[in-house]
Structure formats: structure tokens, C-alpha cells
């Protein structure tokens, strides 16, 4: 089988891509996509370690399932905020949404 470290390496690369998108992209939707990439990298790691270290313990799969929930909730609320901010300010660029007053 493929050694574990190769999965981890791909996951690390994916995580860094996500991190770059979050830090550097200007569009809020793109930032959210970056977050999704990072969460997926986490999931690869969780399932990888589960398969290679503890395949009979359900922790890895259960945690991966909970990560799905987090990802869904984050996407739902995050995109709702983006839509709402766009309505108020006609902009999807977080740098420009700099007042706390709505």
C-alpha cells in the first residue's frame, strides 16, 4: 500500500493552498473556498491516521464526520454573511467591509 506519509504530504500541500487562499485572495467567496480546502486537508489526515494507526477504533471516521458538519455550517453561515454584506455595501471584498455598524 501507499505509505502514510504520502497522504500526509498531499494533505499538507492542500492545507497550505487553502491557507494561501484565505490570506491572499481578495474575494470573500474565494476565501471561503480556501477554508473548505483546509478542512479537507484535515479530513485526509484524520482518515489517513485512522486507517494506518487505529482502524478498529471509530475515532477517525467519527471526527471526519464532525468535520463535515463544521464545514457545512461554516459554508452556510459564511455565505449568508457574504450575501448580506453584499446587499448592504455592494462589495464582496472583506477589506472594504471595515465598519462594525451595519
Amino acid at each position: 500500500m501507499i505509505p502514510l506519509w504520502m497522504y500526509l504530504l498531499v494533505a499538507a500541500a492542500l492545507f497550505c493552498m487553502g491557507a494561501y487562499a484565505v490570506l491572499a485572495r481578495r474575494n470573500a467567496v474565494a476565501i471561503l473556498m480556501g477554508v473548505e480546502l483546509m478542512l479537507n486537508a484535515v479530513n485526509i489526515n484524520l482518515v489517513g491516521f485512522w486507517r494506518y494507526q487505529q482502524p478498529l477504533n471509530m475515532a477517525g471516521q467519527a471526527f471526519a464526520a464532525f468535520v463535515f458538519v463544521i464545514a457545512a455550517a461554516e459554508a452556510a453561515v459564511g455565505l449568508a454573511i457574504i450575501i448580506s454584506v453584499y446587499r448592504q455595501r455592494k462589495s464582496v471584498i472583506p477589506d472594504e467591509a471595515d465598519t462594525l455598524k451595519g
Binding site: 497550505c16 473548505e36 471526519a64
Partner: protein, 174 residues
């Protein structure tokens, strides 16, 4: 060294999907294309889950990410018209961000590679057993009072809260 078989081939194909899709997401100007790249990347991750003997998660990955989250992202892109209104892809701190991301990657690579450095590469990190827990086991664990029943309920609560919150935020109240 790595033996060349179907599994290895599949791994590299999926790795190509994952990383190629990821690259697309971070570079593309058009956000609808970005979503398609995201779908490609997440499809690759689903392939990884199959190779890691977690078919249930693989299918759920397709169901949730490609069937729901990607569609939601496209809805948001269309609702905000953000694929046409942007001229710059990156913000002012992109140089710094690149440095941070690359450094992070180097650091992670070193941490991952160091423990297996010098060992026989094909042995490093082989699975401890061929027997793998099934979906039924996952179902049992999720409602087992000693295992995950509390997170199980909390997940439901979180989803409910997210849905109510998102409806309140997104709706037009004027």
C-alpha cells in the same frame, strides 16, 4: 520502493486531482471556474477516502461537498455577482501570504518526512491491520452512550443553529 500497481496509480491520479484543483482554486479569476476546480479537488479527496478504506466517507464527500456545498457556493457567487465585479485576484498582503504558506508547507514536509527518513520507504507508515471498521460500527459508535452520542446530538444542534442563523442573516427583511 513503491511497487507499481493499480492502487499506486489511483493514488497519483487522485493526488493530481486534489492538488490541481487546489491550484485552480487559488489562481483562477473566475469564481464559477473556481468552484469547478474546488469540485475536482474534493472529488480527489473522495478518491483518497476510497483508497483509505472509508467508502462511506467518500460517498458522503461527494454528496455533501459536490452536491450541496459547491452548489451553495455557486448560488452565493451568482447572488453577489462576484465573478464579474473583480479585477484583482489577490489583496495587498499576497507576498507575505505566499511566504507564510510556503514556509508552512516546508515545515510540515520536514515534520512528515523526518520520521521516515533513512528507513525503508516502503515500510514507513504501513497500516497496522487489514481489518477495518465498517459503517455499521460507525453507526453503533455514534449512538453509544460511552462514545459519541453527545457529539452526535451537538452536531444536530450546530446544524440547526447554523440553519437558523443563516436564514436570519441572508433574508431580505426590508
Amino acid at each position: 520502493m513503491l511497487e507499481l500497481n493499480v492502487q499506486t496509480l489511483a493514488f497519483f491520479v487522485f493526488a493530481l486531482f486534489v492538488l490541481g484543483g487546489g491550484l485552480g482554486v487559488i489562481t483562477t479569476r473566475n469564481l464559477v471556474h473556481g468552484t469547478l476546480y474546488l469540485i475536482l479537488s474534493l472529488f480527489g479527496v473522495a478518491g483518497f477516502f476510497v483508497l483509505l478504506s472509508a467508502p462511506f466517507l467518500a460517498v458522503v464527500q461527494v454528496l455533501v461537498y459536490i452536491g450541496a456545498i459547491a452548489i451553495l457556493i455557486v448560488f452565493a457567487v451568482m447572488l453577489t455577482r462576484s465573478m464579474t465585479s473583480l479585477h484583482e485576484v489577490v489583496n495587498r498582503q499576497w507576498v507575505l501570504s505566499t511566504i507564510v504558506a510556503v514556509l508552512l508547507f516546508v515545515m510540515l514536509t520536514v515534520t512528515i518526512i523526518l520520521p521516515v527518513w533513512g528507513q525503508d520507504g516502503s515500510l514507513a507508515g504501513q497500516p497496522v491491520s487489514e481489518v477495518v471498521a465498517t459503517t455499521t460500527d460507525l453507526g453503533k459508535a455514534l449512538v453509544d452512550g460511552n462514545q459519541y452520542v453527545l457529539p452526535f446530538e451537538v452536531a444536530s444542534l450546530l446544524l440547526t443553529a447554523a440553519m437558523i442563523g443563516a436564514i436570519v442573516i441572508a433574508r431580505d427583511d426590508e
